[in-house]
């Protein structure tokens, strides 16, 4: 029997997981579009042309640093400090990239180069939760999170915002200003599946808030994200209750973790001769 003829037990779960991902993405996309509109307006007020505003949203594609840059350009700040600030504002993406990297190792390099560019807070949060649910990488799922959830609405909204200008209502009047932190908190819940994750999340929140007050949110958030996991690792867990690392190699067929040592031994000892059944005897 060929492998392709074996019904994959993971397939229905994948469809269900993608439906849930799409629903989650919808909520994020509304928020992203609202703030993309505001960025377009901010860029217009800062003197950006539509081409320049779109260049920011396509090429930089990092909301916080785009807003900051628009403000600094309006204030007449030179470019060099804007670029340095951009580096620090976006350095947290390194954590996302490192967290996703083990899952992406089988993806072709050219595709990984593009996937990296669309890695944002929201794309990471949505895709990490999706991968966690299905127990493995799902490249179309990543594109749904990164492109449908963020890149496309952000860029469409930017051009609408820069063209429509002051006709846009303030998102905070509709309560949309809380969508970003609420979504990040909700998605953190989805990744919290054990005592260690809970401690890491709690410590990340407390340390991130405290350090944001001391050194500013851009670096404070990173410190919370770096130190929180250390406290999670130091948390004792009863033997056998700690789930296998979700970024360990996993079977494409079952979604379960693969014991590489056992698998290697099985391959070494396997009898690859074709059985009578498989020859159709």
């Amino acid at each position: 029997m060929s492998a392709s003829a074996i019904p994959s037990p993971a397939a229905p779960d994948l469809r269900t997981a993608r439906r849930r991902l799409l629903l989650d993405t919808l909520g994020i996309a509304v928020s992203v579009a609202a703030f993309g509109l505001v960025f377009g307006l901010a860029a217009r007020n800062a003197g950006f042309s539509p081409i320049e505003a779109m260049a920011f949203s396509v090429v930089v594609f990092a909301g916080a640093s785009q807003f900051a840059a628009a403000g600094y350009i309006a204030a007449g700040l030179p470019w060099a400090p804007i670029v340095v600030l951009t580096f620090f504002l976006n350095a947290r993406h390194m954590l996302y990239s490192a967290s996703l990297a083990p899952r992406f190792r089988e993806v072709p390099l050219a595709k990984r180069i593009v996937m990296s560019h669309v890695l944002t807070d929201e794309a990471f949060a949505l895709s990490a939760a999706h991968f966690h649910r299905i127990g493995r990488l799902d490249v179309p799922g990543y594109w749904i999170a990164a492109l449908v959830g963020v890149f496309i609405p952000w860029n469409i909204a930017t051009i609408v915002g820069v063209m429509l200008g002051s006709a846009i209502p303030d998102p905070s009047r509709l309560g949309l200003d809380i969508v970003f932190p609420a979504a990040m908190g909700g998605l953190a819940v989805g990744l919290t599946t054990g005592r260690r994750e809970l401690v890491a999340a709690g410590a990340g929140a407390i340390i991130g808030t405290g350090m944001s007050l001391l050194i500013g949110p851009a670096l404070g958030i990173i410190v919370g994200g770096l130190l929180g996991p250390l406290l999670g690792m130091a948390t004792p867990v009863p033997p056998g209750t700690d789930a296998a690392p979700s970024i360990s190699p996993e079977s494409e067929m079952t979604g379960g973790p693969v014991d590489l040592a056992t698998a290697e031994a099985e391959v070494r000892n396997a009898d690859f001769s074709t059985s009578d059944d498989e020859r159709g005897a």
Binding site: V60, V84, T86, S99, P181, M184, A200, P229
Partner: protein, 110 residues
């Protein structure tokens, strides 16, 4: 139509892309020791919770100093988190959180 700032966008891309790409493009990350893989597994919940908390509880004064802010936003975010923990549905959580905040502001409570 001005295109001068397109060059600044390129410089900002150069400052941003390595953070996003280096770990994903670096070969051999799957050979990290188990402790490092455990650390990476915990980065997701930690950094997302850090983002959520700092974005809700810290605001900047007009002169740029970060200060604690406790307002209706924390109620909306906590409501969303609780709904997600209860129903495992982010969209529902967002709707509840946003509706709470919008209603409170509309009623003049926040």
């Amino acid at each position: 139509m001005s295109t001068q700032l397109v060059l600044l966008a390129v410089f900002m891309f150069v400052a941003t892309y390595p953070s996003r790409a280096l770990p994903i493009l670096a070969p051999g990350i799957e050979r990290l020791p188990p402790r490092a893989l455990l650390y990476l597994r915990l980065v997701g919940p930690a950094v997302l919770a850090s983002l959520a908390a700092a974005n809700t509880l810290v605001v900047k004064t007009p002169d740029g100093a970060p200060v604690v802010h406790v307002g209706i936003e924390i109620v909306g975010v906590l409501a969303c988190v609780l709904v997600v923990a209860w129903r495992r549905n982010l969209l529902l959580g967002l709707v509840v959180g946003v509706a709470l905040v919008a209603a409170a502001r509309f009623a003049g409570l926040a």
